[in-house]
C-alpha cells in the first residue's frame, strides 16, 4: 500500500515530543523526516527543541548538593552518626 499521508506543520508540532523521545512509530518518524527536508522552519524548531533539552540536562548535571545541606539533612533525620 502506498502511504500518501502528508504531515502538516501543526501535526509535526504535536508529535515533536514523542519524536525527540524516540517513541514514535518508524512510519511517523519517516513522515517527520520527510517534512523537515522541505520545511526549514519545522527543521529549526525540531533541532532547537532537541538542543534545548540537551542544554537543560547538561546544566542539571552540574548541580551538587552542598555538604552543609547534606549535614543538616542527616541531623534533621537524626542520622548524623552515619554521615562521614
Amino acid at each position: 500500500m502506498t502511504h500518501t499521508y502528508s504531515l502538516t506543520c501543526q501535526e509535526l508540532l504535536a508529535s515533536i515530543s514523542d519524536y525527540v523521545d524516540g517513541s514514535l512509530s518508524p512510519e511517523l518518524c519517516q513522515e517527520i523526516e520527510r517534512h523537515i527536508r522541505g520545511c526549514e522552519n519545522c527543521r529549526v524548531v525540531l533541532d532547537t527543541t532537541t538542543k534545548t533539552l540537551y542544554l537543560y540536562r547538561q546544566s542539571a548535571e552540574k548541580i551538587a548538593l552542598p555538604g552543609e545541606v547534606q549535614e543538616r539533612l542527616m541531623s534533621a533525620l537524626d542520622l548524623s552518626e552515619f554521615f562521614k
Partner: protein, 198 residues
C-alpha cells in the same frame, strides 16, 4: 535512570526501621531531590526545606508504602508535592497569574533562528545559565514539575504519571507545552547571540 541511583536499597529494611538503610537512602537520593526542589522553587533555602520535609515524610510513611510504584518514583512524588505546597504558600502571599495546561494557549512557534551551531562557549557562559534558569522559572508550576521529572530526572512517562497522579494525556500535553515554551525562550536569547556573533 532513576532505578540505578539506588539499586541496593532494601524496602524491607526501611520498613523494619533499619536506620543505616535509611541513611543510605538519604545519602544516595538527596542530590536528585535537592536538584528537583531547587529547580522547582528557584530558592536554595526553600529547596533545603523541601529536601528535609521529603525525607521526614518518607521516614514517617514508609510503612504505608504499598510498592505500586518504585521507591524512587515514590520519593519523587513526595518531593514534588512538597515543592508544589511551598510554591502555593508563597503565592498565597503574592497572587500570581497561574496558567494551567488546560488553557487554549497557542503552541505555534514564533522563533525560527537556528542557533544550534553557536560556539560551545555561548552555551556555557554565565549569561546562558541565567537565561536557562529564568526560562524554567517562568514556566507555570504545573508545566515545570512535569518537565523536571521527565527531562531532568529522567523518569519515564509512566513514572511521571505515577509521581504526579495525572493522566498520561495530561503529562504528555504539559511536557510538550513546557518544552516548546523553553525552546521559545532560549531561541529569543540564543537567536540574538547568532545575530551578534555573525
Amino acid at each position: 535512570m532513576t532505578e540505578t541511583i539506588f539499586p541496593e536499597i532494601s524496602i524491607a529494611a526501611l520498613k523494619a526501621g533499619d536506620r543505616a538503610e535509611f541513611a543510605r537512602l538519604a545519602a544516595s537520593f538527596s542530590t536528585p531531590i535537592y536538584r528537583l526542589a531547587l529547580k522547582m522553587t528557584g530558592d536554595p533555602s526553600d529547596a533545603e526545606d523541601v529536601l528535609q520535609n521529603t525525607f521526614l515524610k518518607a521516614l514517617q510513611h514508609i510503612h504505608g508504602f504499598e510498592e505500586r510504584s518504585s521507591l524512587s518514583t515514590w520519593m519523587y512524588r513526595i518531593a514534588a508535592n512538597e515543592a508544589l505546597m511551598t510554591l502555593r504558600r508563597r503565592k498565597s502571599q503574592i497572587p500570581v497569574d497561574e496558567n494551567p495546561d488546560d488553557s487554549d494557549e497557542e503552541l505555534a512557534p514564533m522563533q525560527f533562528t537556528d542557533w544550534c551551531c553557536l560556539p560551545e562557549s555561548e552555551f556555557v557562559s554565565a549569561e546562558a545559565k541565567k537565561q536557562l534558569d529564568q526560562a524554567i522559572q517562568h514556566l507555570p508550576d504545573s508545566l515545570r514539575v512535569v518537565f523536571l521529572l521527565r527531562d531532568i530526572e529522567g523518569l519515564s512517562i509512566k513514572e511521571t504519571v505515577e509521581a504526579l497522579n495525572l493522566s498520561e494525556t495530561a503529562v504528555k500535553t504539559r511536557l510538550l507545552r513546557a518544552r516548546l515554551r523553553l525552546r521559545e525562550k532560549l531561541s529569543s536569547y540564543f537567536g540574538e547571540r547568532v545575530r551578534e556573533v555573525s
